[in-house]
């Protein structure tokens, strides 16, 4: 059977369609003229077109549709004329009856009655005669179509022997053995009988079912046979054609399902009728037998699918065991059972959802409704309950048998089936995890180990297997109860997949939703995600054993894979010196940090600390290059906890000084030491590029240690800061480029890294309050010395005058009633010297100072009530006016030694401002005389610069404005601008002094 070419086919089809149209028009004309025989002849003519061999199924279908419509017209006409005839006869009979009655003749009446019956019998044969008549048609296709159209029309009338006609039609259809023509013919039969099938009593119902099943079986045979038609090279084509035709076969099953649905049993006749058992005993075995017998791949997969889809779920529950073990196992070995399983499971899952939605409603109903109406429902519910409890068992049995019977089943199959099982188990037994464990155990033992040649694909399948429950579980912690989950996870050889799962877990844990189309069962919706804390080491192990792979993953590897994947988005950290990493990598690290924050034991901070340490020791330090991303979080978290503990400790000490707290103190100390080790570890690995960060960590730790009155610890930690500074920061060999672009003139613009570091340290140091004096001074001296040794003059100058503040505390920063050991020492050791002196000076400016402090210093300590008890304040603050002056002097010297006169001028002005601050603070050594001197110095400098050649340019710029400035040399212009700026600053400073003198009586004696 070779089909003509496509264009030829089109031409043929067009020819056929034209002819059909033509003939069917002729038929309609004949029908309108009441020329029935001629009409049938035309009908037969167009039906003849259906005998063609040369069209594809689609084209054939096109023809079929056209013919179907024409035949409907015929059927309607026949039915109408039949009805008209019947009515005519009725009327006649009535008239006769009336006549008989008027005649009052009993015998006549009897006769007329007889004649009624005889007429009745003669009335129906109109269609039955036609039914016989069309059977003279010489060709079988037109003959059968006409038989069906007339037979079904006949069935639609009341007096037809419906079942006989049905039987006859379906029997005669056997004559068409050609697959396509046969399929369409039987489809026509099925379509025409659709609404005519009798099922008013159980006998009729059974016969209807038989009819449908018979038609189904025959159609299926034809459908399967189509595959073997024609040349073997056209196999693919056949396959496609069959796919197009599948719906014809499936329609039978659909009808079957509808009939069962429509038939509600016949009340009195069979009380025990239940659709489920009927299906189980009468329909299921025959259909599945047929499906198995046909041994056809397409047919089996499609029909089982249809079977699953169209019959109600209760039916499947009832036949599940059979379906799986007797049917699925006997299907075509190459058939993908997983698809079927998947369909089935999906249905069950949907059903379950639906059912659970209903449960509440029906329960209410059950209570409300009368008992008599509920028998069925209750029965149904019971069966449902029993079924579902064994559901997984049945499925699992099947799977094991499948595995035994076909050990070479492809991995995809296993994976999909198991995935379905997981979904099933999760839906039906959300709390029972043993099922899942069974699955993972099986997979671990039998599947992964067997497939040594784990290709990427198979692994990806396993991956999906693992992902499903993660997404489903409301909490990641459910995984802890699945020991084989982890084993199975470990069997994955491809790290990328492990990572993917780990990421899933981490996302789940952090409540990051991943909307992936992979999973179609949505986990039970949690309205608001609540973070779960990891409180025990077991829990930490539970999570982190999956995260280990991510921890170990280093940047370079990550980069390689990213290159492979063609991801181009990368990030340069630390000016590219640290290598290039991807955004994804950073995201992962960020997630780690989030997880670290979730390691939390709210009521037991010590336990919490040990957990944090545990995480580091066991997991985080596995990859030393990545700790730079995770340790800061860890350290801060530890610090935070330590701070809490320490404060609690201090508070309790205050409350009950009698109790011995050495144990607590010891714990705090050890923890600080451990912390220091952690920071040190970080430092060891990352000092080259991240010492600034580490410095900050140390500083934080040191500050907190100080606040907790752990002096020695704090001292050591500050020492560590200096080490970091000396070892790495001082050289600033790798300083970020942008530091170099900053103008030395800009006092607020940062400066070099060492300068920054010094500022950092000094800012922290100035807040420490619990050093003894010796330690404190050693620290601040050291820092100031570092400052004075900076390379750049401006840095030197600025860090020195900043450090000056270290000798002059302005804030109390202590709980009320406490005294700083720094000052206490001061009192004991150098009581006579510094403090008395400072007290004297203080005395002199006392009034001014008190007011100034109240107004200018926002943070001025009102809690300590400076106005009422200034003495206490003096006692509390560490102040050394000589050192301050020394520092200022040093700064001046440095500024003076600057080569650049403009920069020098700028620095002078900055120092002047510092002096004003210290003057306000009440440092007696920075008096008006000193300040006057400084102002003079600045003025001289300005004058010197004015008299320079630049003067002209300067004037030019200031007078001529912007317009003329374009002529001026760039360099000149820049310097002039700087000079102008400096002068502006100076003028404003002087304005400020004047202003203060007028309004606040400050700066007495300063000549402006």
């Amino acid at each position: 059977m070779t089909l003509p070419s496509i264009s030829e086919q089109k031409a043929i089809l067009q020819g056929c369609l034209n002819n059909i149209n033509h003939q069917s028009n002729l038929m309609k004309q004949c029908l309108n003229d009441n020329n029935l025989l001629q009409a049938l002849k035309h009908c037969s003519n167009f039906l003849n077109e259906l005998r063609t061999n040369q069209l594809s199924p689609k084209q054939y279908y096109e023809m079929y549709i056209l013919i179907f419509d024409s035949l409907e017209y015929l059927a309607n006409h026949l039915l109408n004329s039949h009805n008209a005839k019947v009515q005519k006869i009725r009327r006649k009979q009535q008239r006769k009856l009336e006549n008989a009655n008027t005649g009052n003749n009993i015998e006549d009446g009897g006769n007329s009655e007889k004649s009624i019956t005889s007429l009745d019998t003669t009335s129906s044969p109109f269609l039955s005669d036609l039914y016989e008549l069309v059977q003279y048609s010489g060709n079988i296709i037109p003959r059968l179509y006409m038989m069906i159209v007339i037979g079904t029309t006949y069935m639609a009338t009341n007096e037809a022997p419906t079942k006989e006609i049905m039987k006859d039609m379906i029997e005669m259809c056997r004559g068409v053995q050609h697959p396509i023509r046969g399929l369409f013919l039987r489809y026509y039969l099925s379509q025409r009988t659709k609404h005519l099938l009798p099922f008013s009593n159980s006998v009729d119902f059974n016969e209807t079912i038989e009819f449908l099943i018979a038609n189904f079986i025959e159609m299926n045979k034809l459908w399967v046979r189509l595959q073997h038609q024609g040349h073997s090279s056209e196999r693919e084509l056949r396959y496609r054609e069959r796919k197009e035709l599948k719906i014809l076969v499936g329609s039978n099953l659909v009808r079957l399902s509808q009939i069962i649905d429509d038939y509600k049993g016949n009340g009195e006749e069979d009380e025990n009728y239940s659709p489920i058992s009927f299906y189980k005993t009468n329909i299921f075995p025959t259909i599945t037998e047929q499906i198995i017998q046909c041994r056809d791949h397409l047919a089996q997969s499609y029909l089982i699918d249809v079977l699953i889809q169209i019959f109600p779920d209760d039916f499947h529950f009832a036949t599940l065991d059979n379906l799986l073990n007797n049917v699925f196992l006997n299907l075509h070995p190459l058939l993908k059972k997983s698809e079927l399983i998947s369909t089935l499971v999906d249905r069950f899952i949907v059903y379950h959802k639906f059912e659970s939605d209903l449960v509440t409603e029906t329960n209410e109903k059950l209570v409300v409704d009368d008992d008599n109406n509920n028998n069925k429902k209750v029965k149904k519910d019971q069966s449902f309950d029993t079924d579902t409890s064994e559901l997984f068992g049945i499925f699992w049995n099947f799977y094991v048998r499948l595995y035994e019977s076909d050990p070479d089943l492809p991995v995809e199959e296993h994976s999909t089936i198991l995935q379905c099982y997981i979904k099933l188990s999760l839906t039906y037994y959300p709390t029972n995890l043993t099922n899942l464990d069974i699955i993972y155990k099986f997979a671990t033992e039998n599947l992964v180990s067997k497939n040594q040649d784990n290709s990427e694909n198979t692994e990806e399948l396993w991956l999906q297997l693992l992902v499903v429950p993660i997404r489903f579980f409301p909490s990641v912690k459910n995984l802890f109860n699945l020991p084989f989950f982890h084993e199975f996870y470990l069997k994955l050889t491809n790290k990328a997949y492990q990572k993917q799962i780990s990421l899933e877990i981490i996302n789940k844990f952090l409540g990051i939703s991943t909307n992936d189309e992979l999973l179609d069962i949505s986990p039970p919706k949690v309205e608001e995600f609540e973070f779960e804390y990891l409180t025990t080491t077991d829990e930490i192990d539970g999570i982190f054993k999956y995260l280990l792979v991510l921890i170990k993953d280093s940047q370079s590897q990550q980069l390689n894979t990213s290159k492979n994947l063609g991801i181009t988005k990368t990030i340069k950290l630390n000016n590219g010196e640290n290598g290039i990493i991807t955004q994804e990598f950073l995201d992962v690290q960020e997630k780690f940090c989030k997880v670290i924050h979730l390691i939390e034991t709210p009521l037991d901070p010590f336990k919490n600390l040990s957990n944090l340490m545990y995480v580091r020791r066991k997991y985080l330090n596995k990859n030393s290059t990545n700790i730079i991303y995770t340790y800061p979080t860890l350290i801060n978290k530890i610090l935070y906890k330590l701070k809490l503990i320490g404060y609690m400790n201090l508070k309790q000490k205050k409350k009950n000084p009698s109790i011995d707290y050495s144990n607590q103190d010891l714990l705090i100390t050890t923890n600080f030491k451990n912390l220091s080790i952690i920071i040190d570890e970080l430092y060891q690995h990352h000092q080259q590029f991240n010492s600034e960060l580490i410095l900050k960590l140390y500083l934080n730790a040191a500050t907190i240690a100080d606040q907790l009155k752990q002096e020695s610890l704090a001292y050591e930690l500050f020492n560590q800061c200096f080490i970091v500074y000396e070892e790495n920061l001082i050289l600033s060999s790798h300083q970020y480029n942008y530091y170099h672009h900053i103008s030395p003139q800009d006092s607020l613009g940062g400066g070099s890294l060492p300068y920054q570091s010094i500022l950092l340290i000094s800012n922290k140091l100035i807040n420490t309050r619990y050093f003894n004096k010796e330690n404190y001074e050693s620290l601040i001296t050291k820092l100031t010395v570092y400052g004075s040794k900076l390379l750049k003059k401006q840095d030197q100058c600025r860090s020195v005058y900043s450090c000056a503040h270290l000798w002059w505390w302005c804030e109390i920063l202590l709980p009320p009633g406490e005294k700083s050991p720094t000052v206490n020492d001061n009192q004991t050791d150098e009581k006579s010297k510094g403090v008395t002196e400072s007290e004297k000076t203080e005395e002199s400016t006392k009034e001014i100072k008190a007011e100034a402090e109240a107004e200018t210093q926002v943070k001025e300590d009102e809690e300590t009530e400076p106005e009422t008890e200034p003495e206490i304040e003096v006692d509390v603050l560490y102040r050394d006016d000589k050192r301050v002056l020394e520092c200022l002097q040093k700064a001046l010297r440095v500024a003076d030694s600057c080569m650049d006169p403009y920069l020098s001028l700028k620095l002078f002005i900055e120092i002047l401002n510092r002096c004003l601050i210290f003057n306000i603070y009440g440092n007696a050594l920075v008096d008006s005389r000193y300040i006057n001197g400084l102002i003079d110095l600045i003025r001289t400098n300005i004058d010197n610069l004015k008299t320079d050649d630049n003067e002209a340019a300067f004037l030019n710029v200031t007078d001529g404005g912007v317009a003329s400035s374009s002529n001026v040399d760039d360099e000149l212009d820049k310097e002039a601008r700087l000079f102008r700026q400096s002068r502006g600053v100076f003028e404003r400073t002087l304005d400020y002094i004047r202003d203060q003198q007028i309004h606040d009586n400050r700066f007495d004696g300063i000549i402006v």
């Binding site: 059977q135 003279y136 010489g138 060709n139 079988i140 056997r174 004559g175 068409v176 050609h178 046969g182």
Partner: protein
């Protein structure tokens, strides 16, 4: 009858109840359709003959008679007519006709042994012939053909006991038995009684070795002309690529006897019963209504002159348009 001269008399034969009598349409040898009244065996043939002179002429004749003939015409090396029935009645003695004259006639209870038949090389006809004998010229004749149906009550019905039917059915049976024995060897048990035999299922195993093996089965071997052939084909082995399958009914007319016999076959019915290729195990139903076709009952050696038989032929056509067929005779009879 002369071609040049018109007959001076009009002879008109009218049969009783001719309008209400059933007629049959048959084809004349010239291809036109002809309507003929139907008579049964043993039925009287009754009517009137009217003779009119033309244009008021006086016609002298030597007598008028009406004859009823049954004759068989065969055509082997020329037309041969033999009469198996001949009856005559004198209607008028010699006289002179001046005005129209009507003569009633009746042949009572005429035995009409055979059915009328028009085949290719054989004709069996019954006709009335009115002859007006004349002195001078040849006699003037007028013929009217009758059509005779030989009704046979189905043998199964117990009250079917007319002698003639028995004779014919017996004849038919013996002959049939022979042919069938030659056709198929499957049905070995010879029927006990003719009546039973006619209703026994006919079953045949037919096949080509290693290519095709089918069972051909139909309900019986004797059919009335209004009957239905019901049966089935069961495919035991199919290695041919069958395209379709049809049944045909073939009428075979045999004229003459052994050495110079002429046989003519004509396919009367062609009926497709299967479309497409079946597979092993498939059963194809057969149902063929005979009533609508122009079939002839089976006649065997009618007056030792000719026979007509009907064969049921099963034809399978394969994809290369090769035809495989199997023929077997069926006995047809006419029933009421």
């Amino acid at each position: 009858m002369s071609i040049f001269f018109k007959a001076p008399l009009d002879i008109d034969i009218r049969l009783d109840n001719e309008d209400s009598r059933k007629h049959v349409e048959v084809k004349t040898p010239h291809g036109r359709m002809e309507k003929l009244p139907i008579y049964k065996d043993g039925e009287s043939v009754k009517g009137q003959v009217t003779i009119r002179t033309k244009e008021g002429r006086k016609i002298e004749h030597l007598g008028v008679k009406v004859q009823l003939f049954g004759s068989i015409e065969t055509n082997i090396d020329g037309l041969i007519t033999s009469e198996f029935l001949s009856m005559a009645t004198e209607l008028a003695s010699p006289s002179i006709l001046t005005h129209p004259e009507t003569y009633p006639f009746e042949f009572k209870n005429v035995e009409k042994q055979y059915e009328s038949y028009r085949g290719k090389n054989a004709r069996l006809r019954y006709y009335l012939k009115v002859v007006v004998s004349r002195k001078s010229s040849s006699e003037i004749t007028r013929e009217k053909e009758l059509w005779v149906f030989q009704y046979i009550t189905p043998p199964s019905t117990p009250n079917a006991t007319s002698t003639t039917t028995n004779v014919i059915s017996n004849k038919a049976h013996t002959h049939h038995h022979n042919t069938r024995g030659a056709d198929s060897n499957s049905n070995s048990s010879p029927p006990a009684t003719p009546s039973k035999e006619g209703h026994q299922t006919v079953k045949m195993d037919v096949g080509i070795e290693d290519c095709l093996h089918i069972e051909f089965e139909y309900s019986k071997s004797r059919f009335s002309l209004k009957d239905v052939i019901i049966g089935r084909i069961y495919f035991l082995l199919v290695r041919l690529k069958i395209k379709h399958m049809e049944l045909s009914l073939i009428r075979r007319e045999t004229v003459g006897s052994a050495p110079n016999q002429i046989t003519d076959s004509e396919t009367v019915v062609r009926f497709e019963i299967m479309d497409g290729a079946p597979v092993k195990g498939e059963t194809i139903p057969i149902r063929l209504f005979l009533g609508g076709y122009d079939l002839t009952p089976t006649y065997r050696d009618v007056n030792k002159k000719f026979s007509t038989r009907t064969y049921l032929s099963l034809v399978l056509i394969d994809e290369d348009a090769r035809r495989y067929f199997k023929q077997s005779e069926i006995i047809l009879y006419r029933d009421q």
